[in-house]
């Protein structure tokens, strides 16, 4: 394709797995190991290798917005890291036609002691903007982030929302031909998220190429022209967003009422299981209890348990956090094992398949496991009658005579 912006050819990336062998070693170990192998002909234990990406080929046209979905460890982030030149391929090659900017994290290089103004310049420079470019866009960045009055306040005094808004705003004003975005659109409140999505749409509308990785199916389906599904380092499906997302969400989930992560994200926090209590098929009027069985093993920054509920087409029906309705956004974690239940009331969901995205705390951020749970709400006792139309939910509301 002559009009390609990105051409990926037989791309593979191999990593050393670090169970007991970390990526970095100590020189001392290396020296003793070397000395030992002089006396023992047998080679030192060979590190375990695994392919994070395996023979991936992909062509992305100029102006196209491509969403990448896949479970954790499927290779999505590795793909973005290679495209953004942070790490190099083991095999194969990538051709990029145009200036590339990547947004793998908001606020890279932000320093808490520096003011908003200083951080805008610093972060802009790190993301590849020239001083002149930053100066030209400075007012737009500030206006977009809505932080005018706090411009000369150190960002350590910002609320987390303000911090994220500012960080995203700098990145949103990059002017690349190709923009790579990893899971960063879900920042701030709903209004700001909408603004962010609008900004990405605007960028793609100007004929720029965008590659987005997200666990947020609404984001992916709203923005993408095409969706690529990665699993175990290979592309297993690609096509229109609606089709691929539906297949992706229901893949492998026949009845998935209990979920245990394959490996905990950190050694501080661990889920022993997240379970939807009850039968696989719930009558529409029956409440559904979701139980979080978790263990806090080491002190960690404040956070919260939360999840999102998605319908079959990937639309987020609701998100709920245990701190909802309290003044605090985060709470402190008590060491030890705990169980918490969240009840979805009966007479809320319309019949259909539902998927739960579980957020696993990892330091001060979260890892999202989409489709961790899947269950079905049956038509039994449902309020949705044949002519109830396209409503997303079917709640039982209170009707009462008032006069």
């Amino acid at each position: 394709m002559s009009d390609a912006a990105i051409r990926v050819e037989h791309l593979s990336k191999q990593y050393r797995l670090g169970g007991s062998v970390p990526g970095y070693a100590s020189l001392r170990d290396r020296v003793t190991e070397g000395a030992r192998s002089v006396f023992h002909a047998k080679a030192a234990s060979r590190p375990e290798l695994f392919w994070a990406l395996h023979d991936v080929s992909l062509s992305i046209g100029r102006g196209e917005v491509v969403g990448v979905v896949g479970r954790n460890g499927a290779g999505k982030s590795t793909l973005l890291k290679i495209l953004s030149r942070i790490t190099e391929p083991t095999e194969g090659e990538v051709h990029l036609f145009g200036r590339v900017s990547s947004l793998l994290e908001v606020g890279t290089g932000f320093h808490p002691e520096l003011t908003g103004r200083e951080n805008i310049y610093l972060n802009g420079a790190i993301l590849g903007m020239t001083r002149r470019e930053i100066r030209a866009k400075f007012d737009d960045i500030v206006a977009f982030a809505e932080i005018e009055t706090f411009l000369d306040t150190p960002v350590k005094r910002y609320s987390s929302g303000m911090y994220m808004r500012l960080a995203f705003s700098v990145a949103a004003h990059l002017d690349p031909d190709i923009l790579l975005v990893d899971e960063v659109l879900a920042v701030g409140d709903a209004a700001f998220q909408k603004k962010c999505l609008g900004r990405v749409e605007q960028i793609s509308g100007q004929g720029r190429t965008v590659v987005i990785v997200s666990h947020n199916m609404t984001v992916i389906s709203t923005l993408s022209d095409r969706v690529v599904w990665l699993d175990a380092g290979r592309i297993i499906d690609e096509g229109s967003p609606a089709d691929v997302i539906a297949r992706y969400l229901s893949a492998g989930i026949e009845s998935n009422l209990a979920w245990v992560p394959r490996a905990p994200a950190s050694d501080a926090f661990m889920f022993h299981g997240v379970t939807a209590l009850g039968a696989e098929v719930f009558p529409a009027d029956s409440p559904i209890d979701i139980e979080f069985d978790y263990e806090v093993r080491k002190p960690m920054p404040p956070g919260r348990l939360f999840f999102s509920l998605l319908n079959e087409s990937g639309t987020v029906i609701l998100s709920s956090a245990e701190t909802d309705g309290t003044p605090q956004e985060h709470r402190t974690w008590q060491l030890g094992r705990h169980r918490v239940q969240c009840r979805l009331p009966g007479n809320l969901l319309r019949p259909g398949r539902y998927f739960v995205t579980v957020a696993e705390p990892d330091g001060d951020s979260y890892i999202f496991h989409e489709g961790a749970l899947g269950f079905t709400v049956s038509e039994q006792n449902s309020l949705v009658t044949k002519d109830a139309g396209q409503s997303l939910i079917a709640p039982l509301l209170e009707w009462r005579p008032v006069g």
């Binding site: 290396r30 953004s84 942070i86 990029l96």
Partner: protein, 271 residues
């Protein structure tokens, strides 16, 4: 613009042109370093003066007063000052740049830019402290009534020697540090030792003539004596020694640059 990404094989290229394109980032990182340092420490800019002054006090007391080492008739504090000036630049630049890539792990694993920018910025930041110390040296010389001769125009050459040595070490160890975390202790120990091996608190005059060329295998000997020679008019300057020192620094710097470039592709994977 067409960029091809694939596994690098063979000798790495230095990528100097790209480095030049990103030169503004060096400025921003230095600016950040200084802003942060002076916002975080209570004594702020005074810190850049206290460090060399305390070193000079110790050297003058130990080597000048207790050991009564020769000073060519100059006030001992000036001998120490002219030694501490380049040594502290070297030590700060070396230590900071060797820790720089790991210290900026977050940036390195999330954004692309030429990785050499990171240690280079650390070396450049050290130059700011050097500037402060330099002003102090000028003040001290004025106090003792010593005016530098025309030789002072050669000072930038010795400054270059000093920066070259610091960059070579800093860049090499920055790359090693990513893979071998215990290298940190080697750098700290080496620098501590170096302050006493190099003629920082004393002059090369106490080294017997026949050992001098061997002593000059340490490039800092040339840099420090060069500073004394330019500023105070007394110092051991020897063409052969300087040639050896410059040669060592150039070879070491090239080796460090190539080693860094050859290993940087895996930084994000192991950091």
């Amino acid at each position: 613009m067409h960029i091809v990404l694939k596994r690098r094989r063979g000798l790495a290229r230095l990528g100097l042109r790209e480095l030049w394109e990103y030169r503004e980032l060096v400025g921003f990182l230095v600016w950040k370093d200084i802003l942060v340092r002076y916002k975080q420490t209570v004594i702020g800019i005074a810190w850049a003066a206290i460090r060399p002054l305390s070193a000079i006090f110790v050297f003058t007391f130990v080597f000048g007063r207790l050991a009564k080492l020769p000073s060519d008739g100059l006030p001992y504090p000036l001998i120490a000052f002219a030694g501490v000036l380049p040594w502290q630049l070297f030590a700060t630049a070396f230590a900071e740049s060797s820790a720089s890539v790991v210290g900026n792990a977050q940036m390195v694993s999330k954004v692309y830019f030429p990785r050499l920018i990171v240690p280079i910025s650390s070396v450049a930041s050290a130059l700011v402290d050097f500037g402060v110390t330099f002003v102090l040296v000028i003040a001290a010389m004025a106090w003792y009534g010593i005016v530098p001769g025309p030789r002072i125009i050669l000072l930038p050459l010795f400054l270059l020697l000093c920066l070259g040595a610091a960059s070579a070490g800093g860049i090499l160890f920055a790359a090693l540090f990513v893979r071998y975390r215990d290298v940190r202790h080697i750098v700290g120990f080496g620098l501590q030792l170096g302050a006493y091996i190099s003629p920082v608190g004393f002059t090369t005059a106490i080294v017997p003539e026949k050992w001098r060329l061997l002593y000059a295998l340490n490039p800092l000997v040339g840099a420090i004596e060069g500073f004394r020679w330019c500023l105070l008019g007394h110092g051991w300057i020897d063409a052969r020694a300087l040639a050896i020192e410059s040669g060592i620094v150039i070879v070491a710097l090239l080796f460090a640059l190539y080693y860094f470039r050859a290993t940087e592709a895996t930084f994000a994977d192991v950091i």
